[in-house]
Amino acid sequence: MTIHKGRGFACINYPIGMNLGGDPSQALVHSTPDGKFMVALSSIDLGQGMKSVTRQIASETLGVPVEDVYVDTADSDTGPHCMGSFASRGTHRVGNAVIRAAAEARKQMMEAAAEELEVNASDLDTDGAGNIHVKGAPGRSITVAETAIAAQFKQGRTLSGRGIFLVPPSEADPETGDMTPVTCFAHAALVIDLEVDDETGEVEVTEINSAYEVGRALNPKLVEQQLIGGAWMGVSHALYETTEPYYPRRDHGPEDFNTYLQPGPGQITPHHIAVLERPAEDAPFGGKGPGEMCANPVLPAVANAVYNAVGVRCDQLPITPEKVLKGIRANGGARPQGAR
């Protein structure tokens, strides 16, 4: 038996959003009478951090503490329309819609505060701690809560805002094919190290090294979490998961999570990540978001690493021990492609 080490590389330019019939998302922001702000969305948070990031964006735009912002989402009956959480578009599209809605609500808030302080709204600023003060005179201030109470009970004014962000559809030029399908791309490069057992075809990933350029990392821990978890899913797609193990035949599909294979906690792979921040011009505070890209480069990198280790080029996923072993047999034995 020989264990062959292999290394594979892949890189990716990943479009943010999609280009079908236009790519819009909406947000609505309003204050409660005690100066908290609700952000209403119908953009689904399925664990990727949509609620956390839109809350941060709303807080930053409004100029109020993040603790005073609530995000209500996941109900398309009560939230304004969103195309959905896919195409790595959430942070970019929804974030931009939230900025617009929050900016409008901030304008209302500043005008209400100006009326109370008897100054011009343009002379006011927020301190991010729940106060609105006259620029250069922090002593002349009113709290956001007092402002909201005054707006609600005295001025008869709402502190609210509407936002939509639309990337219109881009038609291809019939002569040249020229088009602008998306407004920005995220980028990544990823290296996989793995070992292949040439008697069984079993593959174990031993290390992942990656660099991701996601615009500004609006929430660095969430970015890290998504990149680590996403790479696990990429390994799983590369080596384990399939609903049709004998594709194109449909038989013998898995019936549970014991036969729908995914790597277990005993197969945690060290993953070293470098996050590069190049804020995108049209992105909310520059953040593009890792999205689907966190899993995608893993698959070709694994395929390349298997080839590097034993000289077997698998072009169908997942790369099962069976496919590797068949490839080794077809080649008359393992053919390592270079010393590691």
């Binding site: 969430l222 890290e224 680590i228 899913m233 999570f257």
Partner: protein, 166 residues
């Protein structure tokens, strides 16, 4: 069909319910007792999201016939916190970003509690073994393992472990 009366202790509270014949414990906890912390994932015993402790020992509540907990003690993630004070495991899961979608979290917490209840100073491999019946689709497991080790350290009176840094 006649229902069967079942009384048991659910997180320090006495529960008395009538259950359908053949009903699983997770179904009765969620629909009968209103404790939504155990999740019904696969209902096949292959995901661990429904993990609860019965007499202190982890069981899959989807594969437990509800009437068999008569007179026994059932602990769920719903009983971990003491009022507003979170259990150290819950705190560590939050601080360590050990959940994304959260569907596995209740089961992970109970699998981890079962470990820490009898092993205050587990090795990394023991933690991995303890959660080996619990699937997570989001995190890649590492933040969960780190969080459990961190909670164990805190419960021993040591400072929380440094979570994996970026």
């Amino acid at each position: 069909m006649a229902k069967t009366p079942v009384t048991f202790t659910l997180n320090d509270t006495e529960a008395a319910l009538f259950v359908d014949p053949g009903a699983s414990l997770v179904d009765v906890l969620r629909r009968g007792a209103g404790d939504l912390t155990p999740k019904q994932g696969c209902a096949q015993g292959t995901c661990g999201a429904c993990t609860v402790l019965i007499d202190g020992v982890p069981h899959l509540s989807c594969l437990t016939l509800a009437e068999t907990v008569q007179g026994r003690r059932v602990d769920t993630a719903g009983g971990l916190a003491d009022g507003p004070a979170l259990h150290p495991l819950q705190r560590a899961f939050i601080d360590g970003f050990a959940a994304q979608c959260g569907f596995c979290t209740s089961g992970m917490l109970m699998a981890a509690k079962a470990l820490l209840d009898h092993n205050a100073n587990p090795t990394r491999d023991e933690v991995i073994e303890a959660i080996s019946g619990n699937l997570c689709r989001c995190t890649g497991y590492e933040p969960i393992v780190d969080a459990i080790l961190s909670a164990a350290a805190q419960m021993r009176g040591q400072p929380a472990l440094q979570q994996g840094a970026l």
